[in-house]
């Protein structure tokens, strides 16, 4: 028995195909079979999804999340993280390797894939560790993990301090055509800092991390990518200097891509005031000029990707003195509305945002999705750009609530998330603008 789904009445934004127009999308057996001007009758045996007033976009892909399983199931599981992703409009996520045990072997990779299959919500792509145990000493079995299904390697959370090892990683990962995702932090310069070094850290008496801790490593890895021909993806860019380095490297044709996290284009270090541990992350929130630079980087494509760096932590790990609090915030359920704010606040077109949240992550990781091409899997997000809602961490699908955005008034939200033609998330109708029939 075949299943047919018609998404009608919406505006299709599909940067991969250069489409931004009123179109209906017809899905048959989990594949997109037609994207055409509206006017389809909903024939018999077709499920109709009314997308009037909504954007119909390729399913969002968050290439930087921490799902915490195995090992830290009290923070998040693959199932709860997948549900949070679906709520946020994401049809796929790539999960970092800093689990316990670390995803540095095919066995752990297989476990993650198995759990994701059981959760049966969004596509979950494991990212393997670059080094055994994230210790920065010896390469993990990247080839074995690749066979098991990893899409990239990263020691995210830990910088790779050895330049020699980073060089080998770039060369070796190239054999499998996968990127090395770099967490850029010179631990010597960061020197145990807990927030951005500047006027706020000075006033609060908190140890600062200067921007140079990031930029020197970005410069190193760009040089190594140039040297080796390897492909490096710079995770969660926080500093203006890093954006500029990536911009000039791209101009020289070096295989580097960059990523921005919503908190880095939304908040400054002022959010730490009052010792707010939900404003503690690594890299830290920086200053106004850095926020402006990250936004400019998204606007001109220097930063190819918007990714949430979803980092769930238990309440007890944040409800402590600032120095003792763990780094990171949950992001899957707030990434899209925060990105949508950039349309008005930073003059960034919706097409650029969808490219950064779907098309480019698919390209960088070499995974399906990222477009609404005919024949592609029907991974689709339907976004109501006018839907107003207030962030209430208590109702997050994620297991954790560590967010600095609680209580924020948002405009725009995913109202339906479709993976392989199957609706995995549907927003409650309350608050939705509906045309009376």
């Amino acid at each position: 028995m075949s299943s047919r789904l018609l998404i009608a009445g919406g505006t299709v934004v599909d940067p991969a195909n250069g489409v931004h127009a009123s179109c209906d999308v017809l899905v048959l057996d989990g594949e997109i079979v037609e994207v055409a001007a509206p006017g389809h009758g909903a024939g018999s045996g077709v499920d109709l999804l009314d997308a009037t007033g909504c954007l119909v976009v390729p399913g969002l892909i968050d290439m930087h999340v921490h799902l915490r399983e195995p090992g830290y199931e009290y923070k998040e599981t693959i199932e709860t993280g997948s549900r949070a992703a679906a709520v946020g409009g994401f049809t796929a996520v790539a999960c970092m390797a800093n689990t316990n045990p670390v995803n540095d072997s095919a066995a752990v990779t297989e476990t993650i894939i198995e759990k994701a299959r059981a959760a049966n919500l969004v596509r979950v792509y494991p990212i393997g560790a670059v080094t055994m145990g994230l210790q920065g000493e010896q390469l993990a079995e990247i080839g074995e993990m690749r066979r098991a299904g990893i899409v990239a390697v990263s020691d995210d959370g830990q910088p790779i301090m050895s330049g020699e090892l980073m060089r080998r990683a770039l060369e070796y990962a190239g054999m499998f055509g996968i990127p090395v995702i770099a967490h850029e932090e010179d631990r010597g310069i960061a020197c145990g800092g807990v927030m951005h070094e500047g006027a706020v850290s000075l006033r609060l008496g908190l140890k600062g991390v200067p921007s140079a801790a990031e930029t020197v490593m970005v410069a190193r890895d760009i040089a190594l990518a140039e040297q080796t021909g390897g492909r490096v993806h710079i995770a969660h860019v926080s500093a203006a200097g890093s954006v500029e380095l990536i911009r000039s490297a791209k101009a020289r044709g070096i295989a580097v891509t960059g990523e921005a996290s919503p908190h880095h284009f939304t908040l400054t270090d002022a959010a730490v005031d009052g010792y707010n541990t939900n404003a503690k992350m690594n890299p830290p929130l920086r200053c106004e000029s850095d926020v402006a630079a990250v936004r400019a980087g998204i606007r001109d494509g220097t930063l190819d990707v918007i990714a949430s760096d979803h980092a769930p932590h238990h309440r007890d790990e944040k409800d402590v003195e600032f120095d003792a609090a763990l780094n990171g915030i949950v992001g899957l359920e707030t990434a899209l509305p925060l990105a949508l704010r950039l349309i008005a606040e930073a003059d960034i077109p919706i097409d650029t945002l969808i490219r950064a949240m779907s098309t480019n992550p698919a390209r960088i990781l070499g995974v399906p999705g990222g477009s609404l091409s005919v024949g592609a899997p029907a991974d689709i997000a339907i976004i109501d750009p006018k839907r107003r809602w207030r962030v209430d961490p208590a109702v997050f699908a994620s297991k954790s609530r560590n967010t600095p955005f609680g209580g924020w008034e948002m405009e725009g939200q995913a109202v339906a998330t479709i993976v392989g033609g199957r609706v995995v998330h549907r927003a409650t109708i309350s608050g939705r603008r509906r045309k009376s029939a």
Binding site: R203, G205, L206, Y275, D319, V320, E321, D323
Partner: protein, 324 residues
Amino acid sequence: MTFRHLLGLEGMSCEEILYLLDTAASFREISEREIKKVPTLRGKTVVGVFYEASTRTRVSFEIAAKRMSADFVSLSASTSSVTKGETLLDTARNLAAMRPDGIILRHPSSGAPHFLAQRVECPIINAGDGAHEHPTQALLDLLTIRERRGSLDDLKVAIVGDILHSRVARSNLHALRALGAEVRLIGPPTLLPRALREWAAVTSDLAEGVRGVDVIMTLRIQRERQGANYFPSLDEYSRYFCLNQAAVRLAKPDVLIMHPGPINRGIEIASDVADGPYSVIMDQVTNGVALRMAVLYLLVSGAQQEASEAQPVAHAPRLRRRAG
């Protein structure tokens, strides 16, 4: 509106600071009596929680509490459940459950008193948090200056030493700026972050910094900074930043020399300066008791709440709004 906690001096107005100093001045006489005790805080319990070593501040608070007839209990991290892994929040909640009338907290993490103030129903007095603030120290410094000079108007103050890590420097900076004083910060560039320039004049030239000032505050150099490459050696540090007679002569003739203690003689301050005629270091210690009596009186006695309920505006400065 009443003030409930003393977390820091940032944001405090000139009037609020002067009100605190006036209150402290009125308590000074008690310590000169033969029977050094008044019944003001009888029946009140004050708990001192010290997560960092402290002699002066701890004893000063304890004497202040006892001269006011409060019951004073103190615990230090090394002898408490902290060594068994209890969190700060759990420790504080347990203490608060015993219904003290005030908690005095010293903690190595900046913001720890703010963290507690938002979570326990009890006045919190910051006795030094990380590199953030040490409000009672700065207030007793000002009390000492005012006592000696007669006023806090038109002050020029030089602060010499490890500004980066000093909570004493931060609290003094906030208070001195509120009072309209001219402040100069002196130290090696490694201990003088660039962002300080938004607050005060900075220099690495001791002679230039102290020229013509009314007050020189010297700060303790932590010996462990030597290993962290903020300067090559204590010897070299002292060659450039030790306050000696030659430097003192560049200041005003009636300059006051201060130090929050404990002193490293010959490193940040020469012995003959610390013990010399311009030194008010022992006055600082004496005034510390009066100042802390005033703070306990205002926060712990309940007098302030009653006064403000009767007269919502006239009395009682706001130190920190009640959290939450």
